[in-house]
Symmetry: D2
Subunit: 349 residues, 4 copies
Amino acid sequence: VTIRALTFHGKGDVRVESRPDPTPPDQDGAVLRVERAAICGSDLHLYHGDLPVPETGFAVGHEFVGEVVEVGSAVRDFRAGDRVLCAGVIGCGACAPCRGGHVVRCERRQTRVFGMSGALPGGQAEAVAVPGADHALRRIPEGVSVEQAVLLTDILPTAFYGAKGAEIRPGQTVAVIGLGPVGLLAVECAQLFGPARVLAIDRIPERLARAKALGAVPVHADRAAETVQGLTGGVGPDSVIEAVGADATIQLALQLVRVAGVVSVIGVNMNFAFPFPMPLALMKDLTFRIGICPVPELWDELVPLVQAGRLHPENVFTHRLALSEGSEAYRIFDEKRDGVLKVLLDPSR
Amino acid sequence: VTIRALTFHGKGDVRVESRPDPTPPDQDGAVLRVERAAICGSDLHLYHGDLPVPETGFAVGHEFVGEVVEVGSAVRDFRAGDRVLCAGVIGCGACAPCRGGHVVRCERRQTRVFGMSGALPGGQAEAVAVPGADHALRRIPEGVSVEQAVLLTDILPTAFYGAKGAEIRPGQTVAVIGLGPVGLLAVECAQLFGPARVLAIDRIPERLARAKALGAVPVHADRAAETVQGLTGGVGPDSVIEAVGADATIQLALQLVRVAGVVSVIGVNMNFAFPFPMPLALMKDLTFRIGICPVPELWDELVPLVQAGRLHPENVFTHRLALSEGSEAYRIFDEKRDGVLKVLLDPSR
Amino acid sequence: VTIRALTFHGKGDVRVESRPDPTPPDQDGAVLRVERAAICGSDLHLYHGDLPVPETGFAVGHEFVGEVVEVGSAVRDFRAGDRVLCAGVIGCGACAPCRGGHVVRCERRQTRVFGMSGALPGGQAEAVAVPGADHALRRIPEGVSVEQAVLLTDILPTAFYGAKGAEIRPGQTVAVIGLGPVGLLAVECAQLFGPARVLAIDRIPERLARAKALGAVPVHADRAAETVQGLTGGVGPDSVIEAVGADATIQLALQLVRVAGVVSVIGVNMNFAFPFPMPLALMKDLTFRIGICPVPELWDELVPLVQAGRLHPENVFTHRLALSEGSEAYRIFDEKRDGVLKVLLDPSR
Amino acid sequence: VTIRALTFHGKGDVRVESRPDPTPPDQDGAVLRVERAAICGSDLHLYHGDLPVPETGFAVGHEFVGEVVEVGSAVRDFRAGDRVLCAGVIGCGACAPCRGGHVVRCERRQTRVFGMSGALPGGQAEAVAVPGADHALRRIPEGVSVEQAVLLTDILPTAFYGAKGAEIRPGQTVAVIGLGPVGLLAVECAQLFGPARVLAIDRIPERLARAKALGAVPVHADRAAETVQGLTGGVGPDSVIEAVGADATIQLALQLVRVAGVVSVIGVNMNFAFPFPMPLALMKDLTFRIGICPVPELWDELVPLVQAGRLHPENVFTHRLALSEGSEAYRIFDEKRDGVLKVLLDPSR
């Protein structure tokens, strides 16, 4: 028996192909029939050929939800038929940090992302194998829709993590650079910390309009520095969340932030020699944060907010396509065509 | 020359009387012509005769804003003509904590409230003398209305202080007991910390409706325990803000709060032997907070929130009366007549 | 087959008796052959008849270490032959908080202490049954002695928890009231937070001398208030750790602590109507903490400190007796005879 | 009348010269007769010609204590005859942050260091003018020696700031890179936060021996990475304090620190394009801090620790020379000759 999966074949080349039906990777693992999967900005790093991959042909994607169809003998908390979301980032599942949901701190250094290599095939597919099911999965909570659940696998926790890392306190001003799906969710999450103002920076009018609708002050990227200076009396925002990952936008964050402020980077930057301006940072008394989000660690905080209607992450989905349209979906997302913000794939089609 | 002032003459007896024109109490002091003053719930403790006072006949009131008419020779930051708000609680103004705005920690133990004795006459009057003007006053910030400014002198900071003390984190559930003016502002301030839910407890339908309009879940006080248990799956809210000050409502807070939770008391309770249930607290792993709000310490956080329209404290004013109607104003407020929530007095009338 | 156990038969009556050999209480449980057990101050609450017990005749004691002799079929992390310490306080072992070591927050409300009723017999015995072994036990870490391990089961975490709850920051002054074994360990743990001074209050000269040897300033309880006032320039200590549990000592803590300070109670007080002085607390802007220590949650912090020789909790043991001397051991401990501080029992004798 | 001062004349050239007797720079200023001054590692940046200076000939040095000989008319807290220490970094002294001691956050952007340009001549001189005396100065506290006071002007607060920024919690492992005077004080300050271990990295045997005497584990810089890996089971220290400022040592810090750890840089690095390894930081979930220490903000914490004998910063002084030997003093310090750690100058000689 086989399944259809979106597979990676080198720069700019993802295709729907057949793959063998997955089985639980070990006694702690499970297999999901995928209901929905989304394409993430970090999938584009792979798509652009920016990441070293020893092989090709593996299934891609780390944002997915589905139904458990099979579990290993040692899985305690899940059984066939459970509808679950799966953390895009997982650890060994057995060490103390992993048990507590802190998968990034996995003591066995097995922190991995689905769909980035053949060692852990991804979930933009009809089915996917999940190791350490008891720690990677969570039942889709009552009151959380499938589309919301997909966003709980990665980018909503990531956005929230960026907002937490920014240490926003009530009455402060925070800037968010980049209003793609993660950036817009970061605007929404920043509002949870009671800032007086969220300054939202991008150059795409529709994205600026979305940020404004979320209560932010839209700032056009072409005059970001002057505008932000003006809005903050020359002082700068108390914190900046960077949600692009380009060298230029990280530099902008460092330039904008006020003295004794915080820059929290959730954009993925792969520069091993990013030119960090030390004397500027020194004079700024800077706190600079960058990291992969420990997804499961954040569910307890985020699920009640989604259930209560305080967060509406599902608004970022602009395109809902069939898995069979996967190649085109990547192109649309990569080229930012058609007002695309976030693409959802349906593996049943 | 004389001014009119609302003065205290014993239990239930406040009257408008003439008093000598105030002069700056020392070289660091100032005199304000009062534009607006409000009656506070803690004024009722005096009105009810619950506070020991060595004398009577002094002007009452600690919530007021006005125009500076005279300053002492050593005042640096203010001059005649400045429109200012005045902290209801002040310290010596000279020690390190006072300079930093932490007046409650005054090292000379001179933390005092206006209008509670003849030593520091209050501001429900045409004019009032303010010691330590550089530390007690703040210019009414641009974008802050007179009515908002009055609330910045005491109850908005108090409500915010209670919410901070509750240590609310995003996604949590917080309960607010008592929806008088302070309690309703506590609901508004609690929302700044990103809770999934604010459970607002009172028995007056109009107050419950106001809390609901602020995004809270209204809970009738007559069935508070069962309702809150039900809404929290038997666990209890992560924190409780108590805004009444009665023994029974503080007991309710201790009963409701979840294990490892926080009870933050901003209601004023004068019981020197409040029957604290130690074994319950022990099993709950409790943090219990109670204190006078350090008003000036909180302005930097609150002013931008008011300016940005994130907080609308002015909605608590239901009655706007002339100073000449002061006796009646106290009766209305005390008896909770006419749907009263908060009373504003105009000393020019 | 039977084992010998120290059993409770009513006020002042504990005896060594035979009991059936324990078996694992469930598939997640284990049985330990006890190597050493200690008597805790909270055992005296039982001994004094202060706790309601539906029955008598059960084995007492919640501080013990030993060797695993049998495990249930679902135990993952332990096997026969492992030398382990066991948390004196346990939860269900299955809910999310319990898995993370936060047993006090057990969602199934199964937080229990060994040896306080027949439902969970204690470990002052030759052998003891432990439910939820994977979460209650920890292998005795390399570099930790048996006697240190016994203290990691309860009173060292409790003392550390009290010090954490006191929120001590470098340069501050902290007072510790009561220099029994928990109080002396609290002095030692308080030093981890960099206070300028630890003021240690008791009336037993030998205990004061021990505190002094730990770097504290000894203060005689008979003149605690004046001495502490004098030493702090009339301001009071920034925080107070109460390690007695009597009404009078908790009142002393509230009286001593400075404005905006913290009182952290680790003494066990069973007064359901402790006369809490609200007006005093109000003027003090108080944070008051009281709770049962979540033992396993603290092991990750404490074990490295013991291994590195930063903490020497074993110094509290003054008496090492045979289990057969258990009745006498309780009397010595209860009557504070013979300079007793902490009693260790050897079940092999 | 003139004074003697150590003045800067270009790379490697400092000389004792005569300068006019200083007068208070404004009505808020004061003049000190300097009792002792120290040479700081950051003075070497100037000495090496690494800092842009528009002019030469100004007096150098920002670490000094002395006696007030003259005050401006508006100075409140000091008068002639007071023996004081002076913050090496000052702000405008008038804005809210400056009043609270947070001079780095000066709203008028007047954060400046003494002796780095002719605009604010330094204190390696017989006398020095101090603007904003009420905020820059503090009376030398009782129980603090002159040499300790000199260290309170800059490097002890800096070391403490680095340790605070490292967010050390009890039981953790912290590494300190560089055991010059600031690094050794950072070792001492790190101990205030209760780490299980401080790993102290340098290559000079005498400095490693000093760190060991402070309770640290000495680690030779030539095999730092392997040694630290070995000591931490391959995990890395929870935090790293960098006290050198070289590119290589900052890279080492980033390499050593564990996942979810903190790198706190107190060494001064002037590279505007430091090659920051973003992918490494991303995988490490890094917090990176760098900043100028807000000296006066830290006095309240440090003074009691020095008074209580918990900190002995004066041990870093290895050389006590006359001001007239200033040129030679710089050479010794720069060349790390004669086992030099820190040089104290006596302007009376």
